[in-house]
């Protein structure tokens, strides 16, 4: 997993609440057998509408999604997180996230930031009046900074540490490599093997 310390990029205002995972990535995309290539499925239904914010040329290359409350509700599919990341988003800001989505996002290195709705409103207006404006999400200082915005956010220490270090579950386990090797050395010879090592 890529480490997340601080990120600066242009934002996309998504003025919708209750964006569920089926809207983020529709079910028919779940048949894919890879973890990438989901970018075209992101918000697929909405993107058929030319007026949809992601279709605006000035939003191209934006990396911070600023969404309405209750983002990521519905099915637990991890594909929703992959789709946002494949598209290029590094962080999502909302006043409230669905639990499982938030867990999945932090596991995969997509930073989900909870800010009060008033701050979300300010960010929406800011990026709508000037799409070129940049937003900084600083995990070291736990702050979101933009012209006229300087907002602190909370994140539990363990999740923050893992993001800062770029540690996924596997990397954390691999820190116990010596313990694993010790256990392997102790395994009885009679235990079966599927093939020669």
């Amino acid at each position: 997993m890529e480490a997340f310390t601080t990120h600066t990029g242009r934002a996309v205002p998504l003025r919708r609440s209750n964006v569920d995972t089926d809207q983020i990535i529709p079910a028919h995309w779940l048949k894919k057998v890879t973890r990438d290539g989901f970018e075209d499925g992101l918000f697929e239904a909405w993107r058929k509408d030319d007026a949809f914010v992601l279709n605006q040329p000035e939003r191209e290359g934006a990396t911070v999604l600023v969404a309405g409350p209750d983002f990521g509700t519905g099915s637990s599919r991890e594909h929703a997180v992959w789709a946002l990341q494949n598209y290029g988003f590094k962080a999502v800001i909302s006043s409230r996230f669905a639990d499982i989505f938030r867990g999945n996002s932090l596991k995969n290195g997509l930073l989900t930031v909870v800010l009060p709705q008033e701050t979300v409103d300010v960010l929406w207006k800011l990026t709508e009046s000037d799409p070129a404006v940049e937003v900084t999400v600083d995990l070291v200082a736990r702050k979101v900074v933009a012209p006229g915005v300087d907002a602190d956010f909370e994140l539990d220490e363990n999740a923050r540490w893992r993001l800062l270090e770029g540690l996924d579950d596997i990397s954390i386990t691999l820190k116990s490599e010596a313990d694993i090797a010790t256990h392997e050395g102790r395994r009885p010879a009679f235990k079966p093997r599927t093939q020669a090592a």
Binding site: K31, V33, R35, E78, D169, I180, P192, Q195, A197
Partner: protein
């Protein structure tokens, strides 16, 4: 204080224990199939990781494989892609694979035990909920999600939260017409589909000790339908005899050392379970489901229950919904329910003993007009054994279809499906809405009940056949 069987196996696999964190557990055997592994391999690729222990990993193709024309290309592009992806992943990462057409191919939970890879005291995982099957050997075996599959591939370990233990003691002897399937359906109806949540179940008592390995696997297989993390049965002489001589069984001095260790895998006399359930075997009878979850079952001699008879409000609602979906009405005798399809197979009841018991009932009889009966062996080895014993002929002579090994109609990912509104008696493990095909209706039954049902065209047990019995060999 003494420890339970599950606690002993757990303790023997702790790689790292830190206060306030989940234990890191070593995994002895990792089974893979095509449906839940692709993103795990893709994750490895993206992070540049290898499979840590290819020698503790094995894959087979089962969920998407057709049971007819297996030499022809697979028509459904999604199924084909999943199989091709597994083949490529196994080749790239050095994992042993038994693909369609291979003599060791079959349902993953049938393949592991028959190769002798499943042994007492092991930790076994697979991206599949019915991994609980392997607990029949006194292994701690459970299903995992795709992220965990990747974790095991990369590290051969899993961080796991502790579980609670539940003893399910079955006293006495099962009546002659009662099978392991009837027993486990009755257990689930008793404790409920959520009754096992957070628990590892240990089945014990005289009735369990007398069961064959096939029957024990049927029971442990369905532990997950009671919501349990896993099901286990202490290994004994029956277990050792089953393992001995299989391709991956220990030999010589290793065998002796293994058996010596396996004999220690029993719950201590003074161990305490978090919960205990006691069942009297003598009170059991052939059992079938009437609803849309495995806990909605009743003895075959009973009638479809009246939803109003449930005191629990959510159970009442669930029963109402189930009857509507199943097209049944309260008070209808279960024996009056006519079926279109009978399915014998799956990791619950697709082993040789299951085929034998169904064949014994149908031998010399005919599948009723308008009923189709599919016999799908759990693996190619099971199929070969059945052919050697002439069981395939018994089935085809009765008018049943003898198919190739795989999951088949257990979940209808391949072309074997129920049409909307069609009704089956199925020896599989899940009667969920649409599981066997969109709009399909499933009654879970044992193999002998499946065979009797095929003959009479309505839910029935072998005892119902006595009047119209045709002498064998006619």
């Amino acid at each position: 204080m003494g420890r339970t069987l599950a606690e002993k196996v757990w303790d023997d696999h702790v790689v790292r224990r830190v206060e306030g964190e989940p234990d890191l557990l070593y995994i002895d055997l990792h089974l893979l199939h095509e449906v839940t592994s692709p993103q795990a391999f893709d994750g490895l690729r993206k992070s540049g990781r290898a499979v840590r222990r290819t020698d503790l990993t094995i894959a087979t193709e089962d969920h998407n494989t057709p049971t007819l024309d297996i030499d022809k290309p697979i028509a459904d592009p999604v199924s084909r892609t999943q199989l091709e992806t597994l083949r490529k992943n196994c080749a790239d990462f050095g994992v042993r694979l038994h693909p369609l057409g291979d003599v060791e191919q079959g349902v993953v939970h049938v393949v592991g035990p028959q190769l002798g890879l499943t042994q007492p005291g092991m930790t076994v995982v697979c991206g599949d909920s019915h991994t609980s099957t392997h607990g029949a050997f006194g292994a701690l075996a459970f299903g995992i999600g795709t992220s965990q599959v990747e974790h095991v591939l990369a590290t051969q370990t899993l961080p796991l939260a502790p579980f609670r233990t539940m003893a399910i003691t079955v006293n006495g002897e099962l009546p002659a017409d009662v099978t392991a399937k009837d027993l486990i359906l009755a257990v689930i109806a008793k404790i409920g589909t959520g009754g096992g949540q957070g628990y590892v179940l240990e089945y014990r008592g005289e009735a369990i000790e007398k069961l064959s390995m096939e029957a024990r696997m049927t029971i442990c297989n369905m532990s997950i339908e009671a919501g349990a993390r896993a099901g286990m049965i202490a290994p004994d002489e029956t277990t050792f005899a089953y393992v001995k001589g299989r391709p991956h069984a220990p030999e010589g001095a290793d065998w002796d050392a293994a058996v010596e260790y396996w004999r220690t895998l029993r719950t201590d006399e003074d161990a305490v379970f978090d919960r205990e359930v006691v069942i009297e075997a003598a009170e059991l009878a052939p059992f079938v489901t009437w609803g849309t979850n495995p806990g909605q079952g009743a003895p075959l001699s009973a009638s479809v229950p009246d939803p109003a008879s449930f005191t629990d409000e959510s159970e009442k609602l669930a029963a109402e919904k189930a009857l509507e979906y199943m097209g049944l009405s309260a008070g209808q005798p279960l024996r009056d329910i006519a079926v279109d399809t009978v399915f014998v197979g799956s990791c619950t009841n697709g082993r040789i003993e299951d085929l034998r018991s169904a064949a014994a009932v149908i031998e010399g009889r005919k599948v009723a007009d308008g009923v189709r009966m599919l016999i799908v062996p759990g693996s190619v080895r099971v199929a070969l054994q059945a052919v050697e014993e002439g069981l395939d002929k018994v089935f085809t002579a009765a008018g049943a279809e003898w198919r190739h090994a795989g999951c088949s109609m257990c979940l209808g990912m391949n072309p074997d499906q129920l049409a909307p509104g069609e009704r089956s008696a199925s020896t599989s493990n899940r009667n969920f809405e649409g599981r066997q095909g969109k709009g399909g209706r499933t009654h879970l039954v044992s193999p002998p009940v499946a065979a009797a049902t095929a003959v009479l065209g309505h839910l029935a047990s072998p005892a119902d056949l006595s009047d119209n019995a045709v002498p064998a060999g006619v």
